[in-house]
Amino acid sequence: MSSTLWQLRRGESCVIDRFDGRLRDTYRTRMVELGFHPGAAVTCVVAPRLGAPKLFRVGNAVYSLEKQVAELVITAGEGA
């Protein structure tokens, strides 16, 4: 079973594998432009409880992603 970005816990890293087909094209393009592209290393910086959006670092920027979108980013193992 594949893992998703949402499953990352604070301090954990991963590499993005692909996007779930349910993510619409417009938003997939935006995610890629922000740095969330297949092959990119992502680290979870803050993971609040109670289902609040998590903070992910990609490149030299930090973004907050809610569960609904982070679950559509499929990851592949430990990142750099």
């Binding site: 935006r30 740095g35 609040p48 670092r57 030299n60 973004y63 979108v69």
Partner: protein, 610 residues
């Protein structure tokens, strides 16, 4: 004359640079997408150069309403003959992110035959951390001038302006990255950033530590509540000395001028309509200044983006998104910028729900009304060395009531509409925490207060004059009850009698449909005429002395918290929503709700008191 289009990603420091170059007082904020309109101004050093500032966007592939407006406007402007160059601002500390957009802009500008100059901003931060940017190498790779600058310190700006005025002619169109797949710009930006950009974990580590505190389930929630409480408490505690100063100055001016006026009618007019009506409104302007200053402080420090993250999950319950938080908080200052800021909400459904909530946010025009009623009914009791005051708590309470009403309405409407699964996902950039610059903050608060006085002042003046005229004649102020205004008031009295309000308050409420703050000026004039023999007494004391029941005071608070009285807000909403349908529905719906809730409050409070 030459025109330069200024573009950049959100948080690239573009607005601060624009302000530096033009000296204009444009709002500078550290929240993604706070600039939602174009601004223009002439360079201070080179007046022949006009700069046009565009809203910050991440990409020329728009995903939100605001981005679509910005991108379409930019594309149209590129085609105009008098546009000579495009200035693209990138944050050198996060080069990769800025370059994705810069590459898209360079492609678009080359196709339009315009020059592009890249400003690599925030060099002061890089230098402080001992990091370097190979600007010459980057310029060579891009085929464009890259000028290292710091909008904060002003370094490199002279060179930048020279490059904008006399840069090289645009290169012939190269191979556009557009033709390739969606990752082409990203891959190129990554490559360039790796080769020429600074190396190091700049700002990220300290930001992460702060975020772990401010976004923690417990400490984040507590700090959010404390910061919001501090915001509302400051309206009273910080503004009080300024308000006293305005009141004392007005009283001094009145005592100086009035004895010089021999004509009785002219003297009564000056005392009651000008010092009583307009003066009563001016006393509350310092509160608007303090409110704008504190909201600006939160924006510029980077905290507002965190507040949006904290609020996202709770706001989802009400059908909104974390991105609704900033438009709603802007609505606390004024509903109009709040409605403009709602363009940043990508989902049309959630944007519409945000529109519904904004007019219920406690805007600054309500502030004078709340402050008057709270001062009249709530004792000025303080505890904990003055840090906690009963009046501040009451203000917090009525603000909370407005916010909760807004959320309740959106929750009900959202449930009624149903979720069609079309909502845009919540993805928000976290800007680095920054120490705000005081100068733009103070200037912003000053501008907002001045704008408020200029906008509301003439309306309040003419309403005060009309109310004074109708109340003073035909019996020259001898008996307000038998004046023309008294007759008019008694005609509408049955409408307000169920709220325990006499005709004077009825007249003031009717006048407040022009603008809420007119309520205070109108009451000031009315009580001024009635108490013409008294010394100048503050309006709150006159309201106390008028014997207004406690229940009516609370009913008035509730009425003003809900009713959508502001004509300007409804007009802007019409423009943004594309039709009169929503503003008309809002005016009628919120009007009926306000009256019903005020009636229930009056009955409840009077029953409790009895």
């Amino acid at each position: 004359m030459t025109r330069v289009l200024v573009v950049g990603s959100p948080n690239s420091g573009k607005s601060l640079l624009f302000n530096r170059l033009t000296g204009l007082r444009q709002k500078v904020a550290n929240f993604p997408g706070i600039t939602v309109d174009t601004h223009s101004g002439h360079s201070r050093q080179h007046p022949e150069m006009e700069l046009v500032d565009f809203p910050g966007v991440y990409s020329l592939h728009a995903v939100s309403g605001e981005e679509t407006v910005a991108v379409e406007t930019f594309s149209r402007a590129l085609g105009e003959g008098d546009v000579s160059a495009v200035l693209c601002v990138v944050d050198a500390t996060r080069l990769e992110k800025g370059l994705v957009f810069a590459l898209q802009v360079a492609d678009a500008a080359r196709r339009a035959g315009k020059r592009v100059v890249i400003a690599a901003n925030m060099m002061d931060t890089l230098e402080r951390h001992g990091l370097l940017l190979d600007d010459a190498g980057l310029a060579g790779a891009l085929g464009l001038p890259v000028i290292p600058i710091s909008a904060r310190t002003g370094s490199g700006l002279a060179l930048l302006e020279r490059a904008l005025l006399a840069g090289p002619e645009p290169a012939a169109p190269k191979d556009s990255l557009l033709a390739r797949d969606e990752t082409a710009y990203r891959n190129e930006a990554e490559r360039l950033s790796r080769t020429y950009g600074p190396r190091g974990d700049l700002l990220i580590m300290s930001t992460s530590r702060a975020d772990r505190f401010f976004l923690h389930s417990l400490t984040g929630g507590i700090s959010f509540l404390l910061i919001m409480y501090f915001l509302f408490q400051s309206i009273f505690t910080w503004a009080a000395p300024l308000m006293d100063a305005v009141e004392t100055s007005l009283a001094w001016l009145a005592s100086l001028l009035l004895p010089w006026i021999g004509n009785d009618i002219a003297r009564d007019f000056l005392r009651d309509a000008i010092f009583g009506g307009v003066g009563a409104f001016l006393v509350f302007v310092p509160q608007i200044f303090v409110l704008t200053l504190v909201v600006g402080l939160l924006e510029d420090s980077g905290y507002l983006a965190r507040a949006a993250v904290i609020c996202h999950r709770p706001l989802r319950i009400f059908g909104l998104t974390g991105k609704s938080f900033v438009p709603m908080l802007s609505g606390v200052a004024c509903a109009i910028p709040g409605i403009y800021a709602a363009r940043t909400v990508e989902s049309p459904r959630r944007r519409w729900l945000t529109y519904l909530a904004i007019p219920l946010m406690p805007c600054s025009a309500r502030l004078p009304v709340y402050a008057l009623l709270i001062t009249a009914f709530i004792p000025a009791y303080t505890m904990l060395g003055g840090w906690v005051g009963l009046q501040g708590l009451a203000m917090f309470g009525i603000y909370l009531f407005g916010i909760c009403s807004g959320l309740l309405v959106t929750a009900l409407v959202s449930r009624a509409l149903g979720d069609r699964g079309e909502d845009a996902p919540f993805v928000l950039e976290m800007p680095p925490y920054r120490m705000p610059s005081w100068e733009p903050l103070l200037r912003g608060a000053w501008d907002r207060s001045r704008h408020f006085v200029y906008k509301a002042g003439p309306v309040i003046f003419w309403v005060s004059v009309a109310v004074w005229f109708l109340g003073y004649f035909p019996n020259l102020g001898a008996d307000l009850g038998h004046s023309w205004l008294g007759s008019l008031g008694r005609l509408i009295e049955p409408l307000f009698a169920p709220l325990g309000l006499d005709w004077k308050y009825g007249v003031a409420i009717l006048a407040s449909f022009i603008a809420r703050e007119v309520f205070v000026g109108t009451l000031g004039t009315l009580f001024g005429i009635e108490g013409a023999e008294d010394d100048v007494v503050s309006l709150a004391e006159r309201v106390q002395a008028s014997g207004l029941p406690l229940g009516s005071g609370f009913a008035l608070l509730v009425f003003f918290a809900i009713a959508a009285q502001c004509v300007s807000t409804l007009a802007v909403l019409r423009r943004e929503s594309g039709s009169w349908r929503l503003p008309v529905q809002m005016f009628i719906g919120y009007g009926l709700l306000a009256y019903t809730a005020a009636f229930a409050t009056y009955r409840l409070v009077e029953w409790l008191v009895a």
